[in-house]
Symmetry: C2
Subunit: 353 residues, 2 copies
């Protein structure tokens, strides 16, 4: 799960926090406040190469094998929403973070914090959903832990998953590897997850049939890598949406990312919901999408491979990488103008994952 | 952290839960209620060899390397207590679970759930404490995640850590490997952690100087394994205390464990606190102790190696393994009588780790 700072990603330049000396909801947004907190508190203390790389997983080498390790705590509310639940999210989120390093996810651990009073039947449904997602991804949940806290010290349950995957020797994928000339591929329409969760909260003000896109993307990634090794960067645009993910990559790789507004797929229902609520879909979370930065000569081949996969059928090329403006994302709008797409500061939609 | 069911340990026989259809504090105790919940809900769903083994870590093989993976969510309250804090606990707890497989812990991930309103200075102190513990253990924290939940949806912060370690080819340690004839070694006095946390809560009714024993035990384990490969079982008696840990091993290995009451070291201050509160120190949590089951011919050598280490100075032999009564722990008391030491049902001391 991208902007969740697995491997504390995005923590590049330690900007002093403003005079906010208490944790605020915005510190969990994946946006500027998250980045500042990470840069100030976590990175200086834990300082090491794998963490500082700022990717979706930390990459380490054990006896010659390169392993990607990623962790995510899931606090989504409500626990169930159209298209998924916290269990499916907990499995897919971490599977995807591992896959975004080009790794083959193998094993997951699962740590549960249960609130006193949680119905055991609800727990059983969530566990079953986790195993269904694990089966689909082809991974095993091999270690677990359960803690119980008193009523009102959690919200039903929270689930941490940590994943481990193996990276083939020829794969070299990182948020810092995007290059001028690369084409930017997006695996399908954006914004479904965030709007689905809002709908389940009753926050839309109207009923909606929008389902979350939660899905394990590891099989999609495998097919893409089989099509070409010239994939430089992969990332799933979760918290903070496509805009935040592209900004992270622009900063990590010090390139300018130019995207075409009219090429970005958005379902009509999602676009309508965003318009009514005043949200920009570029900032809405996804849980079953990825962006890929691919060498131009390989882009068509990779795109076709994506379109043959269940979770890549609607894949498109949405833009390209240039040298300038380094560290920036530019949106070329339908009207012919160009605007900077920035990272949001605080929280758009709390507890979306 | 033993009875925290890393790898959902101890989940041997699925006993139907009584008519309790909601999660209760006791389900997090590490005792019978925890075991029943795991056996009913988690193990049938996640069913796989590594998990079902019921050890402190799941053991998997990746490209010929045997890796131990363990996860633990830490919800201890209060966040700071004599001898430690939630940060030191989060690092040592998982380092120890990995080490209890005879593995060399290498890397840790850390997932934070922060409550809105938490002072950032407190977070900084905890992070610094984590890094100090990581330095002492010689491991790196290579992946992280931060989520923020609204006020009253957590209690300051919760920390999940997941650890990965490498197991040497000659090491074969498991809770199911204890054998008749083995001697039972304990690395030092019991009960310090639980009583220290109670003291910090003001629950003792008197001031106490008792400090938690939280410590990384991986260097101790390495020295023990250098002294002899004939170590069959290692486990750290955390939640549920020494009594619960020994019961788990008795069940996993289907042996009778006979311990001598007068050989079990307990600090006077801890014994006094337990007596005043009506607690049996056998059930009080430790966070820097281990029990080892060692072939009789190697026991003295291993004991001496322990006593040379910082966290094993007070190591002693507390008993032995016999064939009977299989699955039971017997305490031979100072008065010459013998009693069965059972697993507690529910919660003695909630949120001790």
């Amino acid at each position: 799960m991208k902007s969740s700072l697995p491997s504390f990603q995005g923590a590049v330049c330690p900007v002093p926090l403003p005079h906010r000396e208490n944790i605020m909801i915005g510190h969990g947004s994946g946006g500027k406040m998250s980045r500042d907190l990470i840069a100030r508190v976590f990175v200086p203390a834990f300082d090491n190469e794998a963490l500082n790389a700022g990717d979706d997983s930390g990459v380490v080498t054990i006896e010659g094998s390169r392993l990607a390790i990623s962790t995510d705590s899931h606090v989504v509310w409500p626990l169930f929403f159209p298209g998924g639940d916290i269990g499916r999210l907990a499995v897919c989120g971490t599977v995807n973070d591992v896959a975004m390093m080009g790794a083959i996810p193998l094993y997951l651990s699962a740590g549960f914090i249960l609130e006193e009073g949680l119905e055991i039947q609800i727990l059983e449904r969530i566990i079953a959903s986790m195993q269904t997602a694990a089966d689909e991804a082809g991974i095993s949940i091999i270690a677990g832990d359960t803690k119980v806290v008193q009523k009102n010290k959690a919200d039903g349950l929270y689930i941490n998953t940590t994943g481990i995957g193996m990276i083939s020797p020829h794969v070299q994928i990182s948020g810092s590897h995007a290059k001028a000339g690369d084409l930017v591929l997006l695996s399908g329409p954006i914004g479904d997850h965030g709007i689905a969760v809002l709908g389940a909260r009753g926050d839309l003000g109207f009923t909606s049939e929008i389902e979350s896109d939660i899905a394990p993307l590891n099989h999609l990634v495998r097919s893409m890598l089989q099509a070409s090794p010239e994939i430089h960067t992969l990332r799933d645009p979760t918290r903070g949406g496509l805009a935040t993910t592209l900004n992270e990559i622009a900063i990590q790789s010090q390139v300018g990312i130019h995207i075409q507004e009219d090429r970005i797929p958005i379902r009509l229902s999602v676009a309508a919901a965003c318009e009514m609520l005043g949200f920009d879909p570029l900032y809405i979370a996804n849980e079953g999408k990825l962006v890929a930065f691919v060498a131009p000569q390989a882009a068509e081949r990779v795109l076709e491979a994506m379109q043959r996969e269940r979770y890549g059928k609607e894949a498109v090329i949405i833009g390209e990488v240039r040298s300038d403006p380094a560290g920036r994302v530019l949106l070329h709008t339908t009207l012919g103008s160009t605007r900077i797409v920035d990272i949001p500061s605080g929280e758009l939609l709390p507890r979306i994952c």
